[in-house]
Symmetry: C2
DNA sequence: GATTTTATGTCAGCTATGTTGACTTTCCAA
DNA sequence: TTGGAAAGTCAACATAGCTGACATAAAATC
């Protein structure tokens, strides 16, 4: 409630003033908008939206994942995801295979066409990310990742950390 | 198109593999979701949405700003913003004063009630940001800000940099 | 074997927030 | 004095969230 500048933390306090925190909030807002701008532009050509991009992204990251797993990562309702998934399957970008062990489950995979769109979207997004990383430098990148990680919901942080981090 | 791991950059290349970039992309996605979660929860109680929050945030940051300026920062159409602004004015959270010099313009201000909601939303969001900053440490915070800044649209970066950064 | 739980899909309807297009009012400035 | 910028409004639409209700199949449990 109060100024919240002064705390008992042992760390340097310079980064915890309200103004600093507000700047961080704005930085997130502006950067996130730029971050989604390129894919959004591409998606228009296909009459898809951000929701399709997110589904495609995670199916690519973890081929064969189940609908429930994807649901947990996206944090939307199954009805909302289903609408997206259905169009992707109909359009031949995603394949939903009945689970081998548990036949109630659907394992999701990108088709060749799906992988191609994933590449197009991700190329654009990675290009911007790469430019930002270059401009900021390696040690800034490490800090960037640390702060984002600390900000995440713990469950998703666990997933995030479990993903491999460097090319094999 | 190709692996895009190898470049001619003089910097350390370790941060520019596709995997590293993809992790950065996911980090943005997950962190942004967490970043908006607290305000979203609060806004439900008032029957407002994220769009209202954004308007309130920027009006608080720059009291008296014009509708056009706000439009540029939010990156939406005036019709979309107008709907939000109208409800905020009707509900007595925002005051739109006719411009002194140019009477076509409307200068936007938060009322006491608007400032109170701003504080509630921003307290929650800053609390999360503060926790993440503390967990990551001061030098990580600097890097975080540098990368986000590099990612922004240049016009918004200019605005962003022009805002004061430390408590006066 | 019967029952319950789980995973998924689907229908209907609602809301928030974005869009475009057309139009009006106000009013500054050339 | 008139052209055009700034602001506001109305209508119609799309996307992507949401809730609730219900269906089906398969697994798990009793």
């Amino acid at each position: 409630m109060a100024g919240s500048t002064a705390t008992q933390s042992g760390e340097s306090l310079l980064f915890l003033t309200d103004e600093q925190l507000r700047k961080g909030i704005e930085a997130m807002f502006f950067a996130y908008r730029a971050f989604t701008a390129d894919p959004d532009r591409i998606l228009e050509n296909y009459e898809y939206g951000r929701a399709h991009h997110r589904a495609i992204h995670f199916i690519n990251r973890q081929p064969g994942l189940t609908v429930n797993t994807l649901l947990a990562m996206l944090g939307v309702t199954k009805q909302s995801l289903n609408r997206v998934l259905r169009t992707l399957v109909e359009d031949g970008l995603v394949e939903a295979r009945v689970g081998r062990r548990d036949k109630r489950e659907r394992n999701l995979f990108l088709t060749e066409a799906g992988a191609a769109l994933e590449r197009e979207l991700s190329d654009a997004q990675r290009a911007r990310m790469r430019a930002a990383y270059r401009a900021a430098g390696p040690s800034a990148v490490a800090g960037f990742r640390q702060v984002l990680e600390a900000m995440m919901d713990p469950d998703l942080r666990r997933y995030y950390q479990s993903m491999k981090d460097s090319a094999p």
